[in-house]
Symmetry: D2
């Protein structure tokens, strides 16, 4: 279990480190840069990009003007190895080509993509629709959900940073499943995401005129986060888990809102749910939960918090769980830095408050 006091003790003793970002021109990469630039113990060493290599980061994101004028470079393993930790913020399927060599050279890797989140290669290949070329490394990859995996993260070489949707679904579901307050099948997860979750790309379906004043579900029943959610819940609860997951695209830039309908054990009381959340998350720095406050995306945007609300609804045998996160922070870059903090013994909240 998380121990707040110990975590803080790392602060003054901590040594400074150097970090690089592969994929710095994407939204998650840029968000990582913002967070790392505020971090007491990190110096950002290299920013790697592909088509944007040769440009300054503040040309791509003038937001950084007067703060950062680093020139993006084409990736090379030698350049990357000048850092202590390498963040990979690339589309899934690319990290697997880079990680073996980085690991061989002793670097710590935090991958924001999906390549190292699965133990089961077949499941990966079925949902991601391409072959896994570094499957031999899967056993040593650690799933970077700090609230449930903190001890393993401390000594990891490869951290697989969780997906944005899974983060929003796992944190509310895991304690209830583990403690047997809900059934392990028949769970419905309805998620809503801002457009930045799809990355920074030229795609007519993501254009303002297509997305604005509309909503659509997509990848219904076939989204790659389905097996990620199910398999992590299975590891935590020890049971076979059945989830139905439907993501929706929303006309907002940032944020994920997840509403979960889970079959409740008969007689479940609101206080049971609250007790379990207190037990698991009472000391967690980035989890806020409440019986009375309903989460809203605007309460968490630009923060590393997840907000969780719930309602027991015995009229139809459900417990309703609601959560909100910033998809680019707790759903990506923020959680990655949280993992880095654990890995290097820093205060877990450093750079994130």
């Amino acid at each position: 279990m998380y121990n707040y006091a110990v975590s803080f003790s790392g602060k003054t003793l901590a040594q400074n480190i150097k970090a690089s970002i592969i994929g710095a021109s994407g939204y998650s990469g840029a968000e990582l840069l913002k967070i790392l630039s505020r971090h007491k113990h990190v110096r950002v060493e290299k920013l790697f990009a592909n088509t944007s290599a040769g440009k300054r980061i503040d040309e791509i994101y003038p937001f950084f003007a007067k703060s950062f004028d680093t020139v993006l470079e084409q990736y090379s393993v030698d350049a990357a190895c000048a850092s202590d930790v390498v963040f990979i913020a690339l589309p899934s399927g690319e990290a697997m080509n880079l990680v073996p060599e980085l690991v061989a050279r002793g670097k710590k890797v935090i991958d924001l993509g999906g390549d190292f989140r699965f133990q089961d290669v077949a499941s990966y290949e079925r949902y991601y629709k391409h072959q896994h070329r570094a499957a031999h490394l899967l056993p040593q990859a650690v799933y970077g959900l700090p609230e449930w995996n903190r001890e393993h993260i401390k000594s990891a070489q490869i951290i697989a940073n969780p997906g944005c949707y899974p983060t929003s679904a796992l944190l509310p579901l895991a304690p209830l499943l583990k403690e047997g307050l809900i059934e392990s099948s028949g769970i419905a997860i309805n998620s809503l995401s801002g457009v930045s979750g799809a990355g920074r790309s030229a795609n007519v379906d993501l254009s303002f005129a297509e997305v604005n004043e509309s909503v659509k579900a997509y990848k219904v029943g076939v989204h790659q986060h389905i097996p990620e959610i199910a398999s992590v819940l299975e590891r935590i609860s020890g049971a076979n888990v059945g989830v139905t997951f439907v993501p929706h695209l929303l006309p907002i830039t940032r944020g994920i809102y997840t509403s979960i309908y889970a079959p409740a054990q008969t007689g479940l009381q609101p206080s049971d749910v609250l007790d379990v959340f207190k037990q698991y998350y009472g000391n967690e720095p980035f989890v806020r939960f409440s019986e009375s406050v309903i989460p809203e995306i605007k309460h968490v945007n630009y923060t590393n918090y997840i907000d969780i609300g719930f309602r027991v609804y015995p009229e139809n045998g459900h417990v309703i769980l609601l959560s909100a996160i910033d998809n680019l922070i707790k759903g990506a870059a923020g959680q990655a830095v949280q993992n880095m903090n654990i890995l290097f013994g820093y205060d877990e909240t450093e750079g994130l408050l």
Copy 2:
């Protein structure tokens, strides 16, 4: 069952009618005016409003400039009775004060609010939180969901126009429940609504700066549309129905998106679902359904269509139903005119295509 040919035959024989709107300054009232102004057989007689009485409709909505300059009037039953049909677009709780006298004077009434949607007074009073002062009229009120109630609508005196959320949930669920393809309890309904659904009012929670770039659930487990959905499904299917319903407020002006997770009968095939939709909706003018097209709000906005998509998901025992409507049209004013067309023997699509 709907008979397209018969419905069309009314067209040339139809007499023209006069219609009035009570609550013409609200969003639904204004939308009604737009639709009725295109209708071949209707003359808009009176527009009633309260605080806006004395103003011209194009002062409140300059959209109408050069088309309508009618002055809004304070309501009086005598003025209303110059019309053949009276639309009431007021907040729930107000229609019950006006309907008894209109009915007594032989007027047809189409109420867009919730006052006459329930047969069960206790349920109304529990969810609407005020007393019903015209409960004696409930037995003669007809629920105006044309696809399921067309015959009764033809001879109704009082039509209770369905709620926006119920319209979006009932149309996908009803045929599957009636034909026993899904179980009647454990159904989860996740709905997303644009802000116009909350009406035109001064409310800090509806202000742009509060709603934009955010999402929130609200009235979780206590929304007044829960018993409306459940009771209509019970009448249609003959079974006790259990629904969990969570509405969410979205940063869009118009539109409702509903995602439903229903426990499927074992062995349910996609073709079963498609067949049932064909059977019930194959000839319906305003229902579009598809196994392959996923509904999007932008496909239905500014129309009277409901779009329905679905996916059978045996991996977790669910059928997923997705629907989209324009909350102000199929969810309010459009459906009200559809009901009026049925009531007066006009082509059901008149004014609505």
Copy 3:
């Protein structure tokens, strides 16, 4: 001058025509289809597209499901010539390749792009940055701004439909310049446009996550609509005209808002401005102007109206002109149909109210 009575007289005598659209898969093309489908005298014959050829229009825009299922075809001049009028809704630079042959075969052409809006080839080539390959046809092309060019439109073979920004700027400025109420240089035109104005294309700069919660000016001082505005004003007023024009991209889908700061003649009174608007636009079906109502995009969206407001500001020697249009309707497809109505002697408002 526009003569409402005569225009109406064409109605009953009018013969029906066939129309085709080249570029039907873009936003303007789809909007044209919506308008033409409501038009009493038009049958839509062919829809041409390039990369979307072979698809049904309701696959690209499911909005059209149950109304239109026409299959888009690859363009051929023979197929196009089965129509009486051909609308071209292609990016500028493409119409000039098609128009010569269509004209040679006696077809009426309404081009929504910029290729035929200039009399001055050099100016076209400087701003559009490519050669004009049909410059010999420019003298016979008629600029399709009905309020100022109605007589020439009646007998045109090629109608160059005005640009969206020019429509919003010319209509307020033209009468004041012509009557000498404002000076002909030093005019500043500040325009705001929704994203649909940029067309339906895969472009990261138009993606929701880039456009939302932001505003930017673009093409400052080099936009191709600058010479279009200036040259039309020069033809109308007979003076050399100097305009500064800055377009801005806004997080809305549809609509243009133009704010103009023009040096006023000394002693100019509000009543002078109002009188001139009454003189020129008092009988115009699609121009609404007011001294007291400030235009808003929501008042004109989904209509063919332009709303014009103004304020004389002697404190700084300016008259402020404000206008709003729907960029896809009065700024494109609606005005194109208005031109077609004039060309074929129909009621000018047919299909547009």
Copy 4:
């Protein structure tokens, strides 16, 4: 002139101070709290509110949950005087009732409203439409535009924090006017603002459904920021200044975009403008200017920067100036803290980067 080195030297010597906020429940008040909570030398002492008194700040803004749980209090001068500096974030017209007593008791006051921005009482009363009840204090109030008034701010008792629109217009215009690169009359200022600029209030005109997908100008020629802009420019340039100013309401939450059309001196070169910006702003920590980068709101949102772009347009005798700020930060709370930093000898950027 700003001296970066000296300003930094205050850092280690600086004593810590206590600050209170009157009007902490509004958007500017909440933003102040966010910034002050990151400030090394400030302890937030009291949060005052009126109708929200008695609630915790994280009840009103759950964003603050787990960071701040301060209870808002009803204002009393005694409670306020426990602080070294008092920020007033109230609607204009209210600060004048509180400031005299605070000043009498020796407190430093930073007023984010308009009450102390004018030297000319008549002008204030004409535009704000109410009497000034503390006019005797106007001579000692210092206009808190750090880039132009830093020396006076250091020793001020009352700082009148500039308006949001004026900040966006003054910073680009002032150096050009002072150096005579533009004429002092005929200047047109076109500003676009997000909705948070109107404050947190229940107002149907600010509701999402009214603001979304629309734009409107408002207070055309009568906005209270007109005399603020003109009078500050007059003090800086020594000339009589004529500005035309039109604010517009936009469907964004935060941000101001200002486009200025100023008559340029004959022969003005881009390098002249650039040189003047370098001269005045080259060492300014929060001003970014560029000849090539066009400002965008997303580049400055959530920062204290103003971005300035420009283009000399001799074709029509104009220089075009473009600027973007976050209305709640550089346009309100950020600039207020910048002023506080100057006042107390802290590094001017403390809490703001």
